[in-house]
Amino acid sequence: METRELPVPDIKRRKERGKSVVKILSRLPQYGVNPIIVKELRSRMRGARAFVILTIVLLLLAGFSYLIYRLTLAMAPTAGTPVSPQIGQTLFNTLAFIELMIVCLITPAVTAGAISSEREKLTYEMLLSTPLRPTSILWGKLVSALSYVFLLIFAAVPLASLVFTFGGVSLRDMAKALLVIIATTITLGVMGVFLSAWLGRTARATVASYLVVLLLFIAPVVVYVAVAVLSAKASPRQLLMPSPAGALFSALSTSMPYMGPFSVFGDLGRLMGGNLDIVWGEGRGIPRPIYHYTLPFYGGMAIVLYLLTTRLVQPIRRWHLKWKEVLFALALLAFYSSGVFLFFRSTSTRYEKASSPPPTLGDGSGGGGGGIFLSGPMPAFIPTPPAEDAINVQSRLLKSEDELGSTYAAAALQLYRGAFPSGEPEVLYLVETIDDALGDITQGLPLQGPPTDAVVSQLKKRASDALEIFWIKSPADAPNDPKTGVLEKNSAVIQFGTPMIQDDGRMLLSVEIRFTNAQGNGLDEVIKTFTLQQVNGEWKVVEQVE
């Protein structure tokens, strides 16, 4: 009979390898690429499906962005704040939220079949009878499934970067949003694979995954509200920790739009524990944003679920733990929790242990109607905070009206020195904040409009005494040159946005300047958003937000 030679594997080569180090290295997920990843990506990315989905998602996001742009533009209040940052903030928040939703919808779908579909298709045993370690199978499944979700996330980043052309959002904001979205993806991914391995059936695992996602969104809010209602006082914010939306909104709270058509995001942000407690805080320091709790919680959940799944994918001796494995799991958890502990400790000076001066600014600030903090659709079940807290907040950061004025002055100075043609205008018209429009609107931020006198004195102190400064009701009130019909050449109109305190204690402030253009027939407008920080007791512009 004719016989054919079968290939002889390179057993020799393997035997010749050194023992200890190589043995350890060889336990790393395969020498080359994990075979599962190769296999999954080959079949997942084959044909048009994957790219069609990606295109549809991007088109949806782009369409949504344009809609929001038009809507914000159309509904923006005519006076009060510059429109551009508002568009930027609204766009950014909406995009981040939609992205989070997409991630929460797609991740369970791509991971819930990871192990169970192999079992259902009767391919799992063939896989297990190879020397491939079950943990390699797990990693391969996880990485290949999540890489597709990451593709969706990162493909949207350039689109989201459009918001930088509008301003109002910092790179930091985007990094934080991405961090929350990526952490959510990984956690949901590990959870999907866990449920897939545990429940054994794809249909069951998918339903269970979506239930968990739904629960993560809804349960914390329900519990939060229930505790508040039952105890008749504000619930601990940490209750909102498991919610991905809570984490995202708290991470975004510094760039939450506080007015305009999408101020609902601002409300959600507060509800979800963003800067909420800067207003209602325990009276000391700046409260830690929720996502500081969410991320470690998710990380811990992912690690525990991962460890459990490594057992569930074993064909035999599932719960026969070797002491080495137990030790590894314990070491991993100990390492992780000490990392989290160190992070909390190192940042506690900015939050829990932040030194706060006693309230001094007791006698009404800058014309704001200090009592009402929450406008818009604020649910009635959240207890109304005592009025004086608002002042406490300002006072925690700004000891006096002078200091508040100095922030406006610093921003105005920075703006006109960079933008005004001659660098130093002789006459400045500052647009007064309208009480009803701004004084009351302090969503997501605790500060009110500028104290008029303080701004003037601070500006004069910083620029020159010769500078003439007038407060006017609206930009149109600035007197025009009778000859040209536009603003006098040496004067400028400056309009302030509402300052927002970031969770790191820095402040964001948008300022708009208008002046006669070079041709002398129209107005130039420049809008900038600055980050201000207290340096040696004085507020200074430290960064211009793109």
């Binding site: 290939p7 594997p9 690429v33 075979p35 296999k39 079949s43 045993e125 190879t130 020397p131």
Partner: protein, 314 residues
Amino acid sequence: MLAIETRNLTRYYGKVTAVADLNLQVSAGALFGLIGPNGAGKTTTLRMLAGLLEPSTGTILLNGQEVNHNWPELRKKIGYMPDFFGVYEDMLVWEYLDFFARCYDLPTTRRRQVTDELLELVDLTEKREAYVQTLSRGMRQRLCLAHALVHDPQILLLDEPASGLDPRARVEMRELLRELGAMGKTILVSSHILSELAELCDSVGIMEKGQLVASGSLAEISFLATQGRNLRIKSISPLEEVKSKLNNLVGVGQVQDSDDGDRKSLEVEFQGDDDAIANLLSILVSQGVKVISFIEITNNLEEIFLSLTKGEVA
């Protein structure tokens, strides 16, 4: 040398005993057939041998080496083909083999080579670029066999490799196994289709209710199973009369009614050589029994199997 050995291998599923005190011995290079009715514990045994199922008690030795925590190493010596298996969708035939070659950690250059060689071996070369899900049942079966060969294992565990195949594909599969056997591999193949194994295997084990009823070469088993010869006698005389006459004769064992065919017949266990059989017939005829058919039933594997498992099934 024994390639596969089990000692008191036992497996319970809850209260059901799937495999009970199995002592299986397969020598190296043998083509061993594991035969048994459905539910006899063949698949459970193979799954335990492949390391996919943990024995409740008992030990498994592969190439004289006891199996415990050295599975990853031992897996490289075993190729396993499950009885029911699926194929990955959206995957080409060569990618399928390439994937398993990667799982066995073959270097890139060898993967290509092995894939091509195996496709040729199982006669799927022209299907190289086809999607796996478009293959016919027989082709899938061959592809699955090929997947178990990527790492050139010394031991092949094949669970019902011919089930569900049409006669032609079955012959092809048999040829393939012969070819593999000729390469010197130890092949353990299970089946409930006895004629399959009769022609293929050089030794068989017969399982029933989780136990090995008989094991050895075909000749050994055949001898073991038949403590004599079986005769089938058809007569137009009253059967009771024939029976009583038979029972008085020397060498006749049990006599039973047999119901196959249009006429009732008797199955007779008989001990004696050919002369004795000839004598028996002449005595019957001389006693006035009208014999219309008198044949010896040949012992094929099917008969052996039935005779061996008869008692325990009832």
